[in-house]
Structure formats: C-alpha cells, structure tokens
Symmetry: C2
Subunit: 311 residues, 2 copies
Amino acid sequence: MEALGDEVVVGVDLGGTKIFAGLVDAAGRVAGETYVAHGAGSDGAAGETAYERLVGVIRELAAAAGAQGRRVRGAGVGAPGVTRADGTVISAPALGWRELPLAARLQVDLGLPVRVDNDVNAIGLGEHRFGAGQGTRSLFVMAVGTGIGGAVIVDGRLHRGRHDAAGEVGALLPGLEFLSWQNRDWGALESVASGSGIAARARKLADAHGIPVPREGFRAEDVFLAAADGAPWARAVFDETIEYLALAVANVQALLDPDRIVLAGGVGRAADRVIPAIERRLAGVLPFPPDLVASALGYRAGVLGAAALVS
Amino acid sequence: MEALGDEVVVGVDLGGTKIFAGLVDAAGRVAGETYVAHGAGSDGAAGETAYERLVGVIRELAAAAGAQGRRVRGAGVGAPGVTRADGTVISAPALGWRELPLAARLQVDLGLPVRVDNDVNAIGLGEHRFGAGQGTRSLFVMAVGTGIGGAVIVDGRLHRGRHDAAGEVGALLPGLEFLSWQNRDWGALESVASGSGIAARARKLADAHGIPVPREGFRAEDVFLAAADGAPWARAVFDETIEYLALAVANVQALLDPDRIVLAGGVGRAADRVIPAIERRLAGVLPFPPDLVASALGYRAGVLGAAALVS
C-alpha cells in the first residue's frame, strides 16, 4: 500500500459484471485496489451473489486498513442504476435489483456508515472533490460510455432532482425527430451518441456500403481508431458523434451555465480528439463558450466518486 | 390601497419602454400599482431618463407607504438584460445600459436597500415565493414572450451560473441544424419559438401560400387566434411551436428533473391551449413526465418577482 492518511473510506465502483474498490483518504490517494468479477445476471439469485461479493470486498479492505491502524470512516458505493438519496437502489437491471435498500442493508451487515448513490452521481462528486471539477461551485459531469449519464453539482452539492434523475443528459432530445422517442430504457441522445449508439450507427453505415465489420465485439473505440486511420465511413460516424455531443454540451451550457463541464466515461477517454472537435463545432454558436475539460480521474473515477459520497 | 402588512417592499418591473411597480408585502399582496412609460432608446441620454423615472417611481411608492406608517424594507428591480449578482446591469440594449451598477446607484440615490436582477430571474423567484412554484425545492421557470428566457432555482435559491446566464432556455439548440447558429442577440430556440419567432415563421408560411397578413403589428397572438379559428396555415405554425416548446420542456426535464416547470410570459398566457398540447406531445417520450404548470402571477409576475429579490 502507498502512504495514506490516518482516516480512509472504502470506495466501491460496482458495475454490472465487476467490482472495483479501494481505500481512499481525504486527499484522494488510493491504496489496496481490488478488482473482482461477480456473477450477476438479471435474476435475483445472481444479484445476491453480487451483494455477497460486495460485502466481502468491503470487509477485506476495511480489515486491511484496520490492521495498519487506520480509521475507516465508512464505505461509499456507486451503483449502476437509479438510486434514491437514502441509498435505496430503485432499479439496477444489470444486477437484477429493484427497490433494494442497499445502504441500509450494508450498514447492518458491515457495522459501518455506508452511502450509496448512482454511479454517475458518484463520479460527479469525485470529479468535484478530487478531479477536474476541483474549485468549482457548479459543475456538470457528462459520462459517455456504453450509455450516457450525467451529474449536476450546484453550490458544491449534488442536485438530485424530483425523481433522482437530474443530469440525465442521455435522455436529451437532440432534435424534433426524437419527439417520437418512446424507449424508456435507452435515452434519445444515448441511442446515437453513446458507445453502443456509435457502434450501431457505424455498423449501419458500414453495411450500407458493403464494408465488413465484426458482428460481435465491434465498439465505438474501433470506429474512432478507423476514423483516425482515415476511413471515410468511420470519419463520417465520428463527425456525426461530435455533432450530437456538441449539441448536448451546448444545451447543458445554455440551461446551467456551469463553471465547468467534465467529459468522463469510455468515450470521454478519447478526450484529446473529442474535446477539440466539440470546441471547433461550437465556436461562435453560444453567447458563452463552455469550459469543457476531460475527466482527471480516469479509470479510478468510480472508486474516488464512491469515496466522495462519504463526506 | 388594499390592506397590506406592516412591512413592504417596492417591486419594480423595468421594461424596455415602461415601468410597472407596486408595494408588495410578505404575503405577496400588492398595492399602489403604478404604470408609467419612460423615454428609453438605445442612446445613453434616453437611458438616463429611464433611470430618473425609475428613481421617481420608487420614491413615490416609498413615500406613500411611509405616510401609512408602513416600513419599507427596500426595493427590488427586475431589469431587461444580463445582470450580475451584485446588481450591476452588464447589458440592457433596450435601455442603452452597459456595465451600469444599478443597485449601488439606486441605493445611494434612494437611501434604501436595493436589489437588482435580470427580469426573468426575478420572475423565477416570484413564482417560487408567491406563485406556481410555492413549496418546491427545485423549479424551472420558462418565460416565453417576445423573447425566451428562463430561471433555475435549486434548493430554493437562484442558480445564476458562471456568466450569470443559467436558465437561458432561449439559447437551446433544438436540433443539429442549429449548430451553425451564430447570432449572439437571438437564441436558436428563441428564433423559432418566441413570440417574434412564431410571428416570423407564420409570415413566411403565409407569404408562401399567398395568404395576406399585416406587415406591421402581426403577432404570435394573432397566429394563435387564427389557429383556434381553424386556419390551416396558423394551425401548422401553432403545431410546430408546440414541437419546439415540447422539446425545450423535455430537455429541461432531462437535465434538471425539477420539482416543477412553470410556463410564463406572453405565450405562457395561452397556457390553457399550450400546456395540454405540450403534454400530449411528450406522452411516453421521457422516463419521468414533467410537472408543467402555468404562471400563477400573470401580469404581476415582474412586480412580485422584483419584490422577491429583497429577502
């Protein structure tokens, strides 16, 4: 373990198929990182396995901290689903969880203070406290990965919204033609600009031009690589992705005028290509240009964000 | 004067051509309403006249309150322009004002505490305190009149944003085709869905079909009346207006998930036709339907909002 402060928090990035966790101190230093797969499916029994793994991982990290004489202030969990302020997971389809009072249950099983929130909300708090949003009063974090989510921070606090759904930038309607959007599991912007949406558009375009692309495992990353290599079909998909993301950034800017907008998530990791392209697209379009930056937390965003839930 | 509480505030709705003001008590009761024109143009001298009228109106109302033994806690002014939290009007083109420290200047001239904010921010606070947003924690007020503006309230407080431009729903880009928008005085959504935008679209459509409409003084109201009378061209313009406003409401809902969205302003006064049409258009489109209601303050929104600036 690297040098940590005397007080630590267990931060847990709970995904649909894996658990990534670590001990995090007040300065955002991380040690004891643990990465385990869990057997969650969409049935209750598999969800139970994920829960047991989760308890095991937190116990193990807390014990390691205790053995070094460090006080464990609590555990924070970023969960892949809609979550209430009290730490109840309303719905996490990847884990087969519905209305699970996860924070309360973990608190009983672990004997530790536990905070649970939606993974993107956690990442938002993590960027604000430890990452690219440090020093801002208001912040919008746009997480573009397999799906698209977001978090709104106002006056240094998470704005959750009436249905705990504030920041759902993936549900933005990027044009009148999306007013017929009726898919509750898949936001309108998400359907075109998320990793999955990008891959789907690319496959469609490639098929139309008789360009062979893999049936399985074809990802946004592959499209971005092909675009960088100059493939015209991939370039067209990349450019259209930039248009959709630029529209989303513009609309966040118009409604919230945040101090900063942080681009996070898998597509966000291509920020060196994506952010300059968005900025070029938006030059002169808005009264005030957004301060758009890349996540500073990278693959640890989820762990640091979960730790930031425990204040 | 109707019965007021013992403590009052002078609330001033300062427009581009008129001043509307009144005494407002803690319960939002209004008395002593005054409506005067001022001679503002876009030159500094005319702006000075507007300032002098403004001082005169506030003095007169404060004196009337004093004569009745009521304590005047201060004055609030909603101004037609971008305004900083300190009450400086950054830019109010209708009055020819730039970087005018209006609150500080009025305070000196009047010997009263004075708060100044953008008119739509004031209306937002007014709806929250006295109107359709009472009891909410988070609120979005969308003011659709000659232009389109908005105000964001989070945890009961106005969220101003980095450039004091939060809530600028008129600047939303309602589709990729608006990514080439380069007009800084006229937002993209505003250009199609404001009163002026509606009239412009209607005139264009009427011209294309050889339908005579007045060259001057043709307004959104006339389009709505013609649509209610069944005129197909007006109906088409009305339906397209609903599409744009529904898109804006959907995007506010997605990003902010506020407790409520209040539709205010001139077009908002047609809320009995507009709101049900927006709700029909959005049925099933979003994970959570917005709670969309009409302004409860009507023509007094500006006065009550300005009064709400003085807490």
